[in-house]
Amino acid sequence: MDNNVRVIETKNLRKEFNVKVKRDDSKVKEVATLKAVDGINIYVNQGETLGVVGESGCGKTTTAKLLLGLHTPTGGKILLGDNDISHLTKKEMKHFRRRAQMIFQDPYESLNPRFKIKDTIMEPLEIHGIGINKEERYQMAKKILEESGLKPADQFMERFPHEMSGGQRQRVAIARALVLSPDFIIADEPVSMLDVSIRAGILKLLRNMITTRNLAGIIISHDISLIRYISDRTAVMYLGKVVEQGNTEEIIEKRYHPYTEALLEAAPNPDPELKFSLKKITGEAPNPVDLPTGCRFHPRCPKCMDICKRMEPREVDMGNGHRVLCHLYSEDGE
C-alpha cells in the first residue's frame, strides 16, 4: 500500500452562491453573495481517510459536492491525479463519475422511493454499460450487497426502500457507491441520522471498504469524537475555510487553533466523571453572508488579538503536514 499517492487534491477551491437574503425589517429580499467554500486546500491519498469536521453551515457538504462535480467551483482547482476536473465536458464528466462516488447523510432521502433495491444498484452499471447483460449486472449487484453486509442479498434485491431500516438503507447506499469501483468516495455525515447503537457498524463497513479496496475516502461529520474513530487525517472547517488540518490524533492532542480547541472541549463524553469544562467561547457562528472582517473566527475567539480583526490569517505549517490558519502561529502575528 503506497500511502503517498494523491488521489484528489484541491487548490484554493472556492464556491460562492448567490442567495436572496432578507435584512432588518425589510419585506423584500436582496441578492447577496454567500461564500460557502472560501479557498480551501485539502488532499487525500490512496487508502487513506480524511475526516472533515465543523459546525453546521461551514461548507462541508459544499466541499463534497465540489469534489464530485455536483457544483461548479467559483475558483480554484480540483486535481484528480493530474487532471483538473473543475470544468469537464459532458462526456468527460460521465467518465469521471465512475471514479468518484458519494454516500449521503439521509438514508431515507438518498434512495429513489420508486426504485427497487436491485434497480438502484444496477442503474449505474447500466448507465456505464458495465456487465454484458442484465443477469450479469444482477449478479454484480448481489455480490456488492453481500459485501455491504446485507446477507442473503436475494432477500433484499426485490425490496423497496421503505421496507428497510435506516441502517440497511445506508448499506444499500454504500453498495451503490462502490458498485462502479470508484477511486475515491465521500461520505457526508453517513451516520448522523442513525441510532447510536448501529452507527459503528456502518462506519466499520466504510472503513473496511476504503482500506481493502485501497480507495481515497473523505468522511464528513460535525462530531469530532466520531471522526477520531475513522479518519487518518482531519480537516477542521469554519465558515468556508479549513482552519486546521493534519493527522487526527495529533490534532486532538495539540489542538492549535482556538476553534479546534472549542470543538474538542464542547464534545460531551459518555463518562459521567469527566464533566466538560468549557472555556468561554461565546455566541454562534455568524451568517456566512455577512462574514466578519479579518479572521472569521475572531468575534468568538477567546484569544482574539488586534490583528485578527483586521487581517485574514495565512496558513502555517506546524510540521508533519499539520497546518493551521491562525495569527497566533504566523510570523507576522506577534
Binding site: 455536483l70 463519475r97 458519494m102 438518498s110 429513489n112 422511493p113 451503490r176
Partner: protein, 283 residues
C-alpha cells in the same frame, strides 16, 4: 404503482369519486343503447301536437323540453360530451403541464424564465372571458372548446409540477443518480417524472373537473356546439326558454349530473393529493 392502487383503495371518498366517474363513462359508452329516443327528435302526440313540457312519466323518464324533446335521452347523450371533454382535456393538460413543469423546473435558467414568464402572463388572463373569445375565434364545436380549455389550463399544473421538480431535483436520490452518471433525460423521465405522477394525477382529475365545468359554462353562454347535445346546452336551452321555472324536471338533471361528474374529479383529485402528500393522509 401497486402502492398507489392500494392507497387509493383506502380512500373512501376517492373510491366514491371513481365509481361516479366510471358510471358516467359507462353511460357515455352505451349512450346509444340507453337513450330511448333521438335526443334532438321532436316528440309528437298522436294528434300531431308537440309534446311540450311534459312532466316525467314512464314514457319520458325525465319529461320533455319546450320543443318536445326527451330530457332523459338528452341527458344520456349529453354525457358523451362531458366525458369526452373532461377526459381529453385532462389528459392534454396533464401532459403539457407536466412536461413544461418538468423542463422548466429541471433545466432552470433561461428556459425556466421564459416558460414561467408565459405562465405568468397566462395567469393574468381571466379564464372564462378568455375561453369565450377563444371559442369565438375558433368557432363553436367540442374540439374547439377542448382546445380553449387546454390552452388556458395547462398553466396551473405546470406551475405546481415545476415547484415540485425544483424540490425533487435537490433531493439526494437525484444527486445520487447524477453521481451514477445518469443523463438529464434519464433523471428527468426515470427518476423525477415517476415522483410527480401523483401530482400529475391530481391535475388529471381536477383538470377534468374544471374542463367539464368550463364546457358547460361555455355551452350555457350559448357558445357550445348546438348540434351536439351537452348538459350545459340543455341548461342554456332551458334558461333561454321562459319555461325554466315551470319545468324542474328539465332544469334539475343536467345540473345534478354536472355536479356529480365534477365532484368525481375532485374526489379522485383529493385521493391523489393524499397519496402525493403523506402529511394529509391521516385525515
Amino acid at each position: 404503482m401497486k402502492n398507489l392502487v392500494k392507497l387509493f383503495r383506502k380512500n373512501k371518498t376517492g373510491v366514491a369519486g371513481l365509481i361516479i366517474f366510471v358510471f358516467f363513462i359507462l353511460v357515455a359508452i352505451f349512450a346509444n343503447q340507453i337513450a330511448p329516443y333521438d335526443p334532438m327528435e321532436i316528440q309528437f302526440f298522436q294528434d300531431g301536437n308537440v309534446k311540450r313540457l311534459l312532466p316525467p312519466s314512464s314514457e319520458h323518464l325525465l319529461g320533455t323540453t319546450y320543443m318536445g324533446r326527451d330530457v332523459f335521452s338528452q341527458m344520456v347523450i349529453g354525457s358523451r360530451v362531458a366525458v369526452l371533454v373532461g377526459v381529453i382535456s385532462a389528459i392534454c393538460v396533464a401532459f403539457i403541464g407536466t412536461n413544461i413543469g418538468l423542463i422548466a423546473g429541471y433545466f432552470g435558467g433561461k428556459v425556466d424564465r421564459v416558460l414561467m414568464g408565459i405562465v405568468d402572463v397566462m395567469y393574468g388572463l381571466p379564464f372564462l372571458p378568455f375561453a369565450l373569445i377563444l371559442v369565438s375565434v375558433l368557432g363553436p364545436g367540442v374540439q374547439n372548446v377542448i382546445l380553449a380549455i387546454v390552452l388556458i389550463t395547462w398553466r396551473n399544473s405546470s406551475r405546481v409540477i415545476r415547484s415540485q421538480v425544483l424540490s425533487l431535483k435537490n433531493r439526494t436520490f437525484i444527486e445520487a443518480a447524477k453521481l451514477s452518471g445518469a443523463s438529464d433525460r434519464r433523471i428527468l423521465y426515470k427518476h423525477i417524472a415517476p415522483n410527480v405522477i401523483p401530482i400529475s394525477l391530481i391535475y388529471v382529475s381536477t383538470s377534468m373537473a374544471a374542463a367539464i365545468m368550463t364546457e358547460s359554462s361555455i355551452s350555457f353562454l350559448g357558445l357550445g356546439d348546438p348540434i351536439q347535445v351537452s348538459w350545459g346546452r340543455i341548461l342554456f336551452t332551458c334558461y333561454s326558454s321562459q319555461a325554466m321555472f315551470k319545468a324542474p324536471w328539465w332544469i334539475l338533471p343536467p345540473g345534478i349530473a354536472i355536479t356529480l361528474l365534477v365532484l368525481s374529479g375532485y374526489l379522485m383529485g383529493r385521493a391523489f393529493e393524499e397519496i402525493a402528500n403523506p402529511k394529509l393522509r391521516e385525515r
